[in-house]
């Protein structure tokens, strides 16, 4: 299946990605549930789809809707409800600044502002080159290190605005 979405879900390798998603859905549905209970698999499928594609473009939403025989609008409704899901491409380096109470009082807003300034994007956006995503989240459970920043799986503690440039420089492909 070739992708026709204007967002451009990566062009090369899309057919393999769809094939992988297709196998996952087929396996889930082969458990013999009655058709009316198939919708129960939706969130699990969206999780896998986002893992495979990095985000949930329109073409992927359509594909899932057709496989589960659900209205397209309903798939979009679910995606829009959960903040974890996104229909926009996300940068490879996912920078999340914790703005939970402890981090907030220890200066997280200044750190977040510095990331915004240096990357020239707003919170929740990705850089046009697809390298960085900038987000804020609430409490990662490392309050003793406040303020905390996560870059993909890695945690940086005792953050200050001065350290932002260094962290960005560490992110090399």
């Amino acid at each position: 299946m070739s992708c026709q979405c204007s967002g451009g879900c990566g062009a090369a390798g899309d057919s393999e990605k769809f094939a992988e998603l297709d196998r996952f859905i087929t396996e889930l549905l082969s458990r013999g549930e009655p058709p009316e209970r198939r919708r129960g698999n939706l969130i699990q499928i969206l999780h896998r789809a986002q893992h495979i594609f990095g985000y949930l473009p329109e073409e992927v939403q359509k594909f899932v809707a057709e496989r589960l025989d659900l209205p397209r609008a309903e798939i979009y409704g679910v995606i829009s409800f959960y903040s974890y899901f996104t229909d926009q491409p996300v940068g490879r380096y996912k920078i999340n600044v914790c703005t939970g109470t402890a981090c907030f009082v220890k200066g997280a807003p200044k750190v977040l502002d510095e990331f915004k300034r240096q990357l020239n994007i707003r919170e929740g956006e990705s850089t046009p080159d697809g390298k960085f995503f900038l987000g804020a989240l609430r409490c990662v459970g490392a309050c003793s290190l406040a303020p905390v920043v996560m870059v993909n799986e890695r945690v940086y503690g005792n953050m200050t605005a001065d350290k932002v440039a260094g962290i960005l420089a560490e992110c090399t492909d």
């Binding site: 329109e58 209205p71 397209r72 609008a73 829009s80 229909d87």
Partner: protein, 578 residues
């Protein structure tokens, strides 16, 4: 098994599985509702219980219970009007209104809004909560349905209409919390979706969040333009519903008053879509008989309903060869008015304005389809709904209910009983059967009441003996029912010669442009009965016996299915990407 309970101290027995609301109805105790929508005739039971306006007190239960969705239990003691229930109901309404515009005076649903009538019913005259209000851009992208989401109360009745009943699947709740809104996938404007503009969401919406795109003003302008000849056509289902807008009993047949009112508004000629319905039957039945003879492209599907046609183009592009190529009556009328009739009266097509009065919002979309205009001149220029016409009549100060009957103008105003039943599910097929029976047998068949295809049921089947032929036919109304039947056909499990499909449950009498029925199915049953009464009362009840139709074939079109007929009266369909 019956369940015994008391409501406000009165004992009542109801079937197990009934709700508190149903038990209260049996006692004639009114519990206000808002998000609830139940129409047994279409198997609709929308009880999202999201508005909480119907909460009642149940003894022994700590929380108040929503009456619309709480099943009864043996020995239950319900109080609908305790202070706690009343206070809760008022609070709910107050909160709903805190995020709802108060511009009722200029709202398209003014006086037809269920939130407005609830405020009146509960006697709410001051608001305690002043909160933030949602603001969205209005979606006026389509030329059929307007979305004003500032007014949405998240009852989600439109979603049930779109997704469950029609299976079009365009509307869903998007986002969460205060930002939640009902919208198409990707928050796209309606015009960019697979919406078929049936308008069942508009009928379902209790407030002004969904309404029609208003085209009254262009009609007023045309009527007051001395350089234009303005002709109007009225669809079959309009005449049995418009009276409701003027306090007449549902099911009143106001054909003559309708004509009179349109003349008073200043239309140069008042014609009838029923005339074009007879013409449709000539073309469609010719095609049906031809396909049966050749045993190809069966079943033939009707093509009068633009909502259904667009649904097919999106959802069943592989079956696109099945519908009759005959245009809908609205478009046949437009094509003939701007050719045959324009020539007859010596008016240039560009100086003629064809206005349609339709029970339908999808007809607004249909008239704008590319294939229905030539050199920038549309066959049908402006489409207004039954409701919009009622507004115009009121604005002009015409006392509709007091008017004397007047007949349609000639020649595009003469019609038959076969045409008037186009307004009900099953009517188009019955009309075609009446003509097919005569044409196939070569006789004047007397048994022309095909009862098996009448009624509001979603899927009806009939086998009709026509000469030597056992003609197998089916009738569907509501796109969810159409989907079920078409999937069976696609799998080779069902075999018919002819199928009539209408997008709206019950057919055009329940169209998206009809007076709001607010979920009252008795109104629809009365409109249905009125259409068949109108049929019985007409002197001619077969389309091919319409003298004005016979004349246009003699003078202008030749034979049904001729080259000239094909050029003017037939069309093609386009598979659409989803």
């Amino acid at each position: 098994m019956d369940i015994n309970l008391t409501i406000n101290g009165q004992p009542v027995s109801v079937k197990a599985g009934s709700t508190i609301l149903e038990a209260a109805e049996k006692l004639d105790i009114r519990i206000p509702t808002l998000c609830h929508l139940k129409m047994d005739c279409f198997h609709v039971d929308h009880r999202s219980a999201s508005c909480r306006v119907c909460v009642v007190e149940v003894k022994g239960r700590p929380n108040l219970a929503p009456a619309c969705s709480t099943p009864v239990a043996e020995g239950m003691e319900v109080k609908t009007n305790s202070l706690r229930a009343i206070n809760a109901r008022r609070t709910m309404l107050d909160l709903l209104l805190s995020d709802h515009p108060k511009d009722c005076l200029i709202c398209p649903k003014n006086l037809h809004c269920q939130l407005q009538s609830l405020a009146q019913e509960l006697g709410l005259h001051q608001l305690l909560f002043k909160g933030e209000q949602s603001t969205y851009n209005r979606d006026l992208s389509s030329n059929a349905i307007a979305r004003d989401l500032d007014k949405c109360i998240m009852c989600r009745r439109c979603e049930t209409a779109c997704n469950t009943i029609q299976t079009v699947g365009v509307l869903s709740a998007v986002g969460r919390g205060f930002q939640a809104v009902v919208a198409p996938a990707g928050l796209k404007p309606l015009a960019e979706t697979e919406c078929v503009f049936c308008g069942q969401c508009v009928q379902a919406c209790p407030v002004g969040a969904l309404s029609e795109i208003d085209c009254k003003y262009p009609v007023w302008r045309a009527l007051n333009d001395p350089t234009k000849t303005v002709v109007v056509q009225t669809a079959p289902a309009v005449r049995v519903a418009i009276g409701e807008c003027f306090g007449m009993e549902p099911g009143s047949i106001s054909t003559g008053k309708l004509v009179h009112a349109l003349q008073m508004l200043g239309f140069d000629k008042v014609f009838d879509t029923d005339w074009a319905a007879d013409l449709t039957i000539m073309e469609e039945t010719t095609e049906l008989i031809e396909r049966i003879k050749k045993n190809e492209k069966l079943p033939i599907l009707t093509s009068c309903c633009p909502g259904w046609v667009k649904f097919l183009e999106h959802q069943f592009p592989d079956l696109i060869y099945m519908p009759s190529s005959a245009k809908s009556p609205q478009q046949m009328f437009g094509a003939i008015a701007k050719s045959y009739y324009a020539q007859k009266i010596g008016v240039e097509p560009k100086d003629m304005v064809v206005v349609s009065v339709m029970p339908c919002l999808s007809k607004k979309y249909e008239a704008s389809r590319e294939e229905f205009s030539h050199d920038g001149v549309r066959d049908v220029d402006i489409v207004i709904s039954t409701r919009e016409l009622a507004d115009m009549i009121r604005e002009a100060g015409i006392r509709f209910d007091q008017l004397e009957d007047r007949p349609y103008d000639s020649p595009l105003g003469e019609s038959t009983g076969a045409a008037v039943i186009f307004g009900a599910t099953g009517g188009v097929l019955e009309a075609a059967l009446r003509t097919a029976a005569d044409w196939i047998t070569g006789e004047d068949v007397k048994a022309i009441d095909f009862e098996a295809v009448r009624g509001l049921e979603g899927i009806k089947e009939a086998t009709v003996k026509v000469g030597d032929l056992e003609l197998r036919a089916a009738v569907c109304s509501g796109l969810g029912n159409a989907r079920k039947l078409l999937e069976r056909i696609r799998r080779g499990e069902a075999h018919y010669h002819a199928i009539e499909i209408m997008a709206c449950p019950g057919g055009c009498l329940n169209g998206g442009g009809q007076p709001y029925h607010g979920g009252d199915e008795t109104i629809l049953a009365k409109r249905l009965e009125a259409l068949y009464r109108a049929d019985r009362d007409l002197p001619i009840r077969k389309s091919h016996e319409n003298p004005s139709i016979q004349k246009i074939y003699e003078e202008f079109l030749g034979e049904p299915g001729s080259h000239a007929a094909h050029k003017l009266l037939h069309t093609t369909y386009t598979p659409r990407k989803n």
